[in-house]
Subunit: 491 residues, 2 copies
């Protein structure tokens, strides 16, 4: 197995190689679209199941809406339409026919042109609010709390596995409410669900904040986000929750009679996370040996590898290993015993390191004599000798420790890579020399934001929700500012 390019050498190359070598995903025969391979999909399934549980726990139900959005619906909410028009796949025909010049080839049948073009959904506000129109007449029909798991298509020009692909998988929540306050509360509630998931399940610390108008979702009144720091110091937007005001209700004429009998437009939110989280997961924790997975997301949490000479030794180890495996399973820990004879232990060690299996147990003949095994941690690459008796309890605790320490390391890294800048010079120096997040003052205008972006490639990631107020002056215009915002280069 060829070694990975190291992060220090070429972070971007390291990422691409890791995604492919760890069997997570690969590019497909369709421009910008990826194949999510079984191992990668198994991790995504774990994310999905936990998020789904959290959505249901907070009162949401799943539903499914059409893949296609007729152009007339797509363009109804102008800002939203404008935001996505430049990157959408358009279905114009509904039939192929045999090429008259070559009977083995097919051509688009010009007689099967659609009267109205269909847009492959880049997001589903339009088709969903066109549906909600028929569901909402009275305040009694509200709130509507619906989530959808689906594929969406955004025709991005430059794509990268998981981080930016033409088609991706995601969930999109779409809720309708009787009051503005309720919709804002929902927006914030779902942001907290995402933050909780990122921190406690992905072991990835995030900063909760609000986007500047420039960076808002097209059609939103306010976009909340969680931002994570990757190991190269760049930011990655890991989830967004939008307060959509009455924009979609107005565009699709969704009105209801309130308790007093007055007719009002409904209030909306939408919120989503996508397979982009896979990219975040990889870049937050992994190292030069491969993937590092928090135990909560590991398809295999423990791998047991026998170290043996000859059939007889293997058989003795088999007996012990199967018993350990079964005891771990009883504790709800997924354990694989890899006693294949085609591959040497060293090969297996490297393979499971690459795949990010959190704990490896190695058992040799000497271990059997000593009634102990070697336990290796993937995250720290450390090893220890542990007694076979009560091993399952030891492993159970170890997995919890690993989960916590992966988070702690990521948090420590982030804290070490946050700086403050009080002048534009200092800001540029920090960005160039240290990278990471830079807290700085901004005058609140899109112009200053644009200029900084053009000159430094750093964008305002968010205005943190828990920000301390602090008087200052903005870096370029010198106008007064009440608080610092977070700047960073971003994925």
């Amino acid at each position: 197995m060829a070694k990975l390019t190291s992060r220090a050498e070429d972070y971007s190359k390291w990422y691409n190689e890791l995604v492919v070598k760890a069997d997570l995903a690969e590019n497909s025969g369709v421009r910008g679209c990826m194949v999510i391979k079984p191992y990668g999909y198994a991790i995504w399934e774990k994310m999905r199941d936990e998020l789904d549980r959290k959505f249901k726990e907070t009162g949401h139900e799943n539903a499914y809406f059409p893949l296609f959005v007729p152009k007339s619906l797509f363009e109804a909410e102008e800002k939203n339409a404008e935001g996505f028009a430049k990157e959408c796949a358009v279905v114009t025909h509904y039939r192929l026919k045999t090429d008259p010049k070559n009977p083995k080839k097919l051509i688009v049948d010009p007689e099967a042109k659609l009267e109205e073009e269909l847009i492959v959904r880049p997001t589903s506000e339009a088709i969903i609010w066109n549906t909600y129109k028929n569901w909402i007449q009275s305040y009694r029909d509200l709130p509507i709390l619906i989530n959808q798991w689906a594929n969406v298509v955004r025709w991005e020009m430059r794509t990268r596995l998981f981080l930016r692909t033409a088609e991706f998988l995601w969930q999109e929540g779409h809720t309708a409410h009787a009051t503005k306050q309720e919709a804002v509360e929902e927006t914030e509630k779902m942001l907290n669900v995402y933050a909780d998931f990122a921190e406690n399940f992905m072991a990835m610390p995030v900063i909760k904040g609000i986007k500047t108008p420039n960076e808002r979702f097209a059609g939103a009144e306010e976009t909340y986000c969680i931002e994570a720091m990757m190991q190269d110091g760049k930011a990655l937007q890991a989830g967004t929750s939008h307060f959509l005001g009455q924009n979609f209700a107005q565009a699709f004429d969704v009105k209801f009679a309130n308790k007093e009998g007055k007719i009002e437009y409904a209030w909306a939110t939408s919120w989503g996370v996508s397979t982009r989280l896979m990219g975040a997961l990889i870049m937050a924790h992994s190292d030069d040996f491969g993937l590092v997975l928090p135990p909560t997301l590991a398809p295999i949490q423990v791998v047991i590898v026998p170290i043996f000479k000859g059939e007889e030794q293997l058989q003795q180890i088999d007996n012990v290993a199967f018993e350990i495996q079964s005891k771990l399973k009883n504790k709800g820990i997924s354990a694989k015993y890899d006693n294949r004879t085609e591959n040497k232990p060293g090969w297996k060690f490297a393979e499971y390191e690459l795949k990010g299996v959190p704990v490896r147990i190695a058992i040799g003949a000497r271990d059997l004599e000593n009634k102990s095994v070697e336990v290796a941690r993937r995250d720290t690459l450390t090893k220890e000798i542990v007694a076979i008796e009560n091993l399952e309890n030891h492993i159970e605790n170890l997995l919890k420790t690993i989960q916590k320490e992966i988070y702690d390391r990521a948090l420590k890294f982030r804290e070490e890579n946050i700086t403050k800048a009080d002048s534009y010079e200092e800001f540029k120096k920090n960005l160039e020399e240290k990278g990471g997040f830079v807290y700085a003052h901004w005058d609140g205008t899109p112009e200053e934001e644009e200029q900084i972006k053009e000159e430094t490639k750093a964008t305002i990631r968010c205005i943190p929700l828990d920000n301390k107020l602090e008087d200052g002056i903005s870096m370029i215009s010198g106008k007064p500012s009440k608080q610092r915002v977070i700047f960073a280069r971003a994925y």
Copy 2:
């Protein structure tokens, strides 16, 4: 609540009304595409989860492949391409722009024409086998046992909710094997998984069989199927499993070195079930009062309805009801307590009947005195008085009984609606007067099959796997036949 059209009056209308009124699905703003509503989706989720469990249990992993198939890949396997060319959605452009004549409208940007058109997948053999090409070099890479949960699009001209929609949700298994025998075994194994699911989970008896060449999946060597009888006597194909031979391996040049080092084409299977199963479920069991759900598929298995006058009575009933609910939950039974005061008990009874909740518990003041409740079965519409003590055990057993009896009733219905015909006259008479399945001899030619289809609208549903051999002569040509096949009109 307006009553449903009865089945006797208009079976087709009954079905459409039921789907909409029970909140399962509705037509959308996109021609032929449906919205699956939360209650319908919750049932589909239960189907999906159980199938997914069965697939994993039989060694399959999930993965995800692109939504789009480039035309050149689509046309590679000729029969498959021919089979789907007439009903596929084609993406030709990747951008919209503002209409120069009307700045509020968008038009397709003619400058953003794709070099190669993309077909929205009607099925994924092409894109998947184009991927497998890179995954398969040696017999050690085989078998590949992958399943995908996805949406697909087939541009059907006449659509019906769940039964035939332009977009639908499904799973498609795609496996690759080193030998023909292994691929055939896989095809049969998955047919059995489907049959087991249909019978034991959906409580819907099915006949396992093989399709005639006319009815085969485009590109398959052999199509296995499960066929179910609906309450109007018509057949519904509930799942198919295809042995694809080496057709796709040849089309996409997927070769491997076998154990002897010889280069061979890989052997393929594919198998799928879709949201069509929702239609089957509805039509197999439901009645003029609404949906009838087997307990395994019911999002709510038990509903508790209080019958009360005044706040004080409701409070007393609340206490008992919450305790019953919690005891049921401890047994893994999903129970809803509906103590809303806006709706009368009668309204609630009708509502939960419409939604197919298998068991209803009604509690009144008199019941509290007697330490008993009224338990009603949705499937039989019968009621009984049951003591509150150990009620949870009673309900647990009752749910099992209901599951079994729903299946038994469907099986009895099917047996009563299977006839044999020995002449074409008798065949036509049976179809007209009795409907259902007709076992008859057939000469094995597509011509006779076509003629029967044209003249009677009945198709050969399958050649049953467990068929008894029996000498006979075919109905039209009079040629000798070794076995009867199943004819029926079908969805």
